[in-house]
Symmetry: C5
């Protein structure tokens, strides 16, 4: 970080946006990172170029998560505009600067009833519907984006939450943990928390010279 | 650490306190860190600025835990002053310089009776009440602060203990481990132990030049 | 990476190919690596020389997986050309630039029915046949290479997938996860994802100077 | 280590001993460390000062374990001199230069009969008595010190063994592993092995200049 | 590695051998290490001196395993020359340059029948005899050395295999995995694979200047 070239970071973001990527910039809290980027776009080479540009600007990439937007098999019947919002989300949402990201997988426990992948499609669909109902209680306070990473990264999905207030992040994830789709079947990876802002603001708050 | 600017660390603490944060400073024992800070306040940007100031002063942030004060759902009926003590604690408590911190989660075991999140609210409330009774035996020897981190950091809660004597930390946590809320349902992360003192004292004891 | 000698990397690949190794070059996405090489050949010293040449060129080897091509015991009856394709694959396949690699093992759960190595050969063969059927749905979209590493590296097999489109990687692995050979018996290591290209292209996209 | 100031290390040990700490110095085998110190005393600040002195002398603290001497609840009835030997041990024992340290916890398995903390005090006391009997077979060959770390460090106890011969360490721990207190209830952390000697001898054997 | 003094490494090996240690030198494949040494001898100080000499020569010790040769309790009745081969093996065997090492422990599962340390001596002896029978199928292709590390290092045994061909390593470990002593009771640590050669050959193949 001492050798970070702030102008080059800003240019990397501008170049990525010009090439068609959406870029969300986050001031990360704690030791896991100083700043983070969420980049969304249709082409892997564009994403890799953005990464290389950030590295050239002096940033060290200490963590990452690679995943794909998708309309899940349980959402085949939702209206087209909702499908579109999942495949090509508009980020970041306005007025929601509290941010968290975590990866998760569905448990394959020793008991068949604890093994998500041994359930029928109908049983899974019902559980996911109940799960979604809990989530809908937080509409307006939370925007959630689920991206798929089975075969792509170490967990099966990535969950990105944007919230009005940090307490909303906790309230939402805590409440959903009692839902059976989570209580019996969810396994969670590390959680990353931060504040969404413009790249200029984030850089001015987190770059240090030591 | 060799390049730590002690005056800049002290100024970072003063600046944080002036902006409304409470800051507890700890001389940490062992390889996990040399010193630690517990900062409490209403605004994430303030916390991030404090972190950036410490980094600018030459400290390397090797670990962290992000969490939120809360009145838990089981404590909805406690008197207002007790709620206030949890939401806006006054730290550090006087005369309690032995310190430990550890994160924890509630177990979601394969058997339903070992899955905290499959229990009814009443069953959980009863277990938490019994758990609290054990803790109250240590009143005067231990001050405990529980902060919430579901959706925020890697475990579900952070536990901070201040004690008169290091043995109190061990006696309290050991005794509670036999309580069913712990014995059947608790999973513990890493434990950090240290000594609370003024930032000046801590710096003079732990900063080294090698 | 700042000190990488691009010409020396290219020469290392050419020298390896001249000595009889097949080399696939990958631009890796995310923090796990910048670039990756998959090298296939009959002689361990050749592989070690290739590694030494890459290190001499300034690359730091941050991860690796050592495994052996094989005709598994379940494939004893397949035609000779299919055996040959497994023992001496021709890599990379044309038109498939999306790439992932992950290691896996067969679970030895506490219950006998969850312990792969307690099953009879017939039961395992039947499960593997069903597993292969799912995989054959992705013919043309995915080329899969399974290499063996029991006794050689930390997991029992390495799985390399080449795909036309990144979504194919996810669709294939996600679909197979519901097959009993996976749902009940598979344990997965870390997943690495990238883009196959010539060494010159990969170097020009990922090498940075910071 | 190249920059270690041997005289400063020796002075750090002397200063610690002068302040009332007992210090055992160990030449560690393998990559986990080059040398190790076991320091015992009544005051956390003294221990922290010893750590800071060693760091100032150029040592990098790569691992540590913080724990407290205790008379366990199962030993309430032992003679006073045995209690004293546990609370204020005299270290190192004469003629026992083979050394190992490992932390451990009692298992809280899914089955109640595998959950140490669900057992009655009487059941635990009986198991610990049987465990102690096995240990007493090694009297004269092994000196064992158990220190408590529930709430203090990542495991519940630290076990330090001093032996006449390295084989004694293995024979003792291996034999005790068949005892039910271990076979059903013990979970073990990493093991560190080395040779006890004077700080001067250890430094002359392990400090290197590369 | 760039600063490795090859002559000093060779001298360290010669000095160790002169002092009575047997030293096997291995060119390691992959990121876990560049080269490895297996040293066998009766005195811990000699082993520590060899380690210090290698470090002084510029090698960084990134991994290690400390264990003791033994005649296991199940082999009490084998002929004296077989006991001798286990206590004082002659290494490396001729014509076997493929090498792997892995540590392992016996499982203590939640079910008594999956807990090795709850079995009777007779049951364990029978399982180990069956296990040995499988191993004897590989005579001439594999030489195996089991060393004991309960109480000494993080797993209970170290397994070193020398083979004529790398496929032998895989065939042997894979075949034994179906034996009940492995399928029900074995837990495996990381696997290291390489090629045995003289120290001069290994150095000339793996040392690089980057």
């Amino acid at each position: 970080m001492p050798s970070t070239d702030r102008q080059a970071v800003i240019l990397a973001v501008k170049r990525a946006e010009a090439s068609g990527l959406q870029v969300v910039c986050v001031a990360v809290l704690g030791h896991k990172a100083d700043l983070g980027f969420m980049a969304v776009g249709p082409d892997l080479w564009q994403l890799r170029r953005f990464q290389t540009d950030l590295q050239t600007a002096g940033l060290v990439v200490v963590d990452s998560y690679v995943s794909l937007t998708e309309v899940s098999e349980y959402a085949a019947g939702v209206p087209d505009d909702m499908k579109q919002a999942r495949l090509q989300p508009s980020l970041p949402p306005e007025g929601m600067s509290a941010f968290c990201f975590y990866p998760m997988s569905k448990r394959r426990g020793e008991r068949d009833k604890n093994n998500w992948y041994s359930l029928s499609f109908e049983a899974r669909k019902e559980l996911m519907f109940g799960h979604g109902s809990v989530g809908r209680h937080f509409k307006g306070r939370i925007l959630q984006l689920i991206t798929a990473s089975t075969g792509i990264d170490d967990w099966e999905w990535g969950v990105t939450l944007f919230a009005v207030h940090p307490d909303d992040l906790k309230d939402c994830v805590y409440t959903m943990r009692f839902d059976e789709a989570s209580s019996r079947f969810a396994e969670f990876g590390p959680f990353l928390t931060g504040i969404v802002a413009s790249v200029e603001t984030v850089l001015s708050e987190v770059v240090h010279d030591a």
